[in-house]
Symmetry: C2
Amino acid sequence: MARLLDAIDGPGDLKKLDAKELQQLAQEIRQELISTVTISGGHLASNLGVVELTIALHRVFDSPRDKLVWDVGHQSYVHKLLTGRRDRFGTLRQLNGLSGFTDRSESPHDPFGSGHASTSVSAALGIATARDLKGEEFSVVAVIGDGALTGGMAFEALNHAGHMRTNFIVILNDNQMSISPTVGAITGILNRLWLDERLEKAESRAERILSGSVIGRRVLQLGREMKRGFKSLTLPPAKIWEELGFTYMGPFDGHDIPKLEASLVQARIHQRDKPIFFHVITTKGKGYPPAEADAVRYHGVANNMCTQLMAPTFSEIFADTLHQIMADDPRVVVITAAMAEGNCLGTIARDFPNRFFDVGICEEHATTFAAGLATQGVRPVIAIYSTFMQRAIDQLIHDVCLQDLPVVFAMDRAGIVGDDGKTHQGLFDLSYLTMVPNLIVSAPKDGNELRQLLYTAIRADHPMAVRYPRTQTAISCPRGTLEELPIGRGEILRDGKDITILTVGPMALPALDAARALSELGIEAAVVNARYIKPLDSELILGLCRASGRVVTVEENVLAGGFGSAVIQLLHSAGLDNTRARCIGITDQYVEHGPQHILRSKFGLDAPGIVRTVIDNFPELRSSVGERPSAAVS
Amino acid sequence: MARLLDAIDGPGDLKKLDAKELQQLAQEIRQELISTVTISGGHLASNLGVVELTIALHRVFDSPRDKLVWDVGHQSYVHKLLTGRRDRFGTLRQLNGLSGFTDRSESPHDPFGSGHASTSVSAALGIATARDLKGEEFSVVAVIGDGALTGGMAFEALNHAGHMRTNFIVILNDNQMSISPTVGAITGILNRLWLDERLEKAESRAERILSGSVIGRRVLQLGREMKRGFKSLTLPPAKIWEELGFTYMGPFDGHDIPKLEASLVQARIHQRDKPIFFHVITTKGKGYPPAEADAVRYHGVANNMCTQLMAPTFSEIFADTLHQIMADDPRVVVITAAMAEGNCLGTIARDFPNRFFDVGICEEHATTFAAGLATQGVRPVIAIYSTFMQRAIDQLIHDVCLQDLPVVFAMDRAGIVGDDGKTHQGLFDLSYLTMVPNLIVSAPKDGNELRQLLYTAIRADHPMAVRYPRTQTAISCPRGTLEELPIGRGEILRDGKDITILTVGPMALPALDAARALSELGIEAAVVNARYIKPLDSELILGLCRASGRVVTVEENVLAGGFGSAVIQLLHSAGLDNTRARCIGITDQYVEHGPQHILRSKFGLDAPGIVRTVIDNFPELRSSVGERPSAAVS
């Protein structure tokens, strides 16, 4: 039987379907999501939750003329299926395939790109404001989850929108469960919303009683007076949104297409002098029992699941080591910004509930909260993804490092992250970390070193970052005695008189492979694991560079302001001007999604790339060699 | 007559005074503030507004055992006067003198440093959480203004605090006027609070009426039922804070010491399972008629006041040029994050009210709002201080530059800012801007060039930053024809065969002075105004460096990841390894407050410093010179 979905080439085709066909379409979309995402990886539960909402949106609004802005964008798969990207859906998150988020370069139906949380209200308000300035007419809709709503910038935008009285719609997709079960009082408010219906009934009962007597009528009149001053006094949780300047509509069942459509039409044609807050209740994982039952687990399928099945990931080693340290040292607490799962903190949350803080999607608060803790002798560890730390650079500069407070930044997903792509790459951290005074910046080459660096960081009396990648470690890393690694001291992994290869983190491994390959070509390369990017081991680096006069740096970070940049600055400030230095890293561009090893290879961040850099830039070293060098390692 | 203030060596001395003496003390403090701040510069109106609140706080709480955390900290002068810093108060904001903000290194009475807005609730929550973890007993109080409350991270912290139910006090210092008249719906809520008293009266009237009849009593009972579900239903604005998990107290008159004290005691001894939101209404500028009448103007005395009395400041040239451009180009709009005064945007706000957006202290929202506008063909200019742009680096990376949207960042107060000190220096921007792909980064050497670069930025089809300092321009810069300055092209200001001095922004001027002084010593230095820090003018730079083999870079930015770092990276990647390069800039440290010229001199960022760097690092150039070189310019 032909699928209805196969005839949907754009939102217009949706409008031809009747209620029963829409039901069937929803079913087909769920099937498509499950079969594709369980193979390709990606976000399943959140997309299963918005099937009906997305259908209703595309029937009521006229995309791309009307603008739909999806917050975070991991729930935009249904939207992609319905807006002409069905044929490419199997390429989701694959190299050169569809992005796992909305992307302006992918479709005119994506008016704003996404990835990080809490941006949609700001972006939609900007789009709607531009429309009004230009005297154009179209609808603007932001769809934001209850998790993203805890982010401060969403509040900033709601506050500004309420003040501006701009005509647009904010849809709260309330699944009462963000990536982590959502934290915060705002969720408490939402959860209590259902009580309102009871209240409304109580109120109309009161009206009926009162209107029957003179005194009652006087009270009613008084009540109406109050209402003029305090509109919707009787619907308190909605009232919060009303107070913020929005017209509140809802809550609606997010899986009832006809009702959603009718309500969205109302919202669309609503009075034009106010934004609308449209509250929808959805079930994450809807229609796929395993995902409904464990939406956290199925949030990101094939994401780092903290499994013990294969070699451990850096994230797992981090969590295991932190657990070991917390058992010994009562000063240590851990803070996550709604990433407890990704950071593998489940066991810690269970075993140290009072020393585990999930602050919601609030990196700024997380950082200054940690600074406050640190002033009192507590040792906070912020477990955070490199890309999300970008949200709290000012707090790092202004609250933690300026006061030289001992906060540990355990920065996961540093370097190339793979499938999540452009918005999520951890490729800026070495630059924005090393510019900050007082901060110690380190990177382990493997899981064992991660254990020691984390231990060192917690015992350091200064702020310290430990950045590690989203990968498995190359070796098994059982628990053992923890010891501090001297701050600012690197490690020579291999001697070599001709050239020095200086590496950051796990880049030490391909560098060793490269050195072996170069050796076969008669070139002897020293390999150094920098271990500390700041402070650099100047003595070690200058000594080696003075000896050979040649150096190559290797890092998974943008070249501007990164490790290589710091090394050559060191060389010049020490007067070693004549050292020939080349830097391997990410050139000035955003890096797409795709398998990590392919993307690394593209930037020369693997053994063949390192060999090629050495041979091409130091041709005198291979004067005696005739064969093609890269063949030796590729 | 001896002043009472002269006998206050610490908070303990306050407790000896009676009500009348406290009145007199408040008077004396006001006198001290006015006489000191009108001479030394600093924040006057905000401090005049918290005289009584500060006295009451120090009488009720026991600092430093109890922790008082001042948000922003510019209103902490009274606190400083009362906590043993009276004798040094005349050194406020002077070199080696008291900081204009709270500072942990200055006094045990400053448990957390401040400067940027909206951090206090996070910090106080951290301190209170640490206290509870350690089983200690003391009070923690955050004092935050209504302006800082619009910042998203304050909301993140309130949300988390409500969830945690931690025992601490957030005092809202509501002067209904932050630096700019506050924007946003939250202010609307606060302003309506006064209506509550009317409502409360209406309610008790209703109770009286209702209790007189059977039917009325039934209604009353119904009302009580509702109340059980929705506590404080009858006080809606307070209810917002209750919903967020706080106990709301207030509003209180912030100038009535006895009442404030009594209420603060209540708050201190209040039930211990919930944070308290304590609402105080104050009058900014209280007791000093000129400051009361124009609190915006007196917010920062001797701050850049956009005066036309002396040579124009860069800020003024920016605003004047933007006005000129907006008059011609209807696409252009301007966004400020509560800094309309500092950015001299008054005239623009008046003449283009629909194209001027003050979003409150919300740099994150400002940036993504601009990105949304830019998707629709609008050309937003974000007028922002360099130090505050640190708040929105992720939005810059993720929303603006990833999508290559033409947003202009007019970054004022770049470089050393002077009196505001450590927290406000604009010394990181070249590092965090140049790491971002697609972003064009520029700096004008003077006001005329600022005009052209701003014009260029608005016509560029990419995001572009123009960074300029907090100073007057050296020359008069009348309006004239605007023309684009080719992107990525620098400017040779002086030829010279021996060495090249590459400069950023107004550093071109001391570099020219240095070149003249060097010339007298027989050393011919070329001077280049880089104009663009990204993309660099590689052709120009490489050509000059190839010719002389010597280069010195000069920038008001940290050295890590800054302009010099980019230049030497360019040299190596182009194979000019043997160029001898030295970088002048800010070494790895936070820079204190003090006069700009003294601080610049400390880092060699003036003509004598540049001469010294050349002579010391390139001794061969002066082989024929005997005299002391620095004498020639100092």
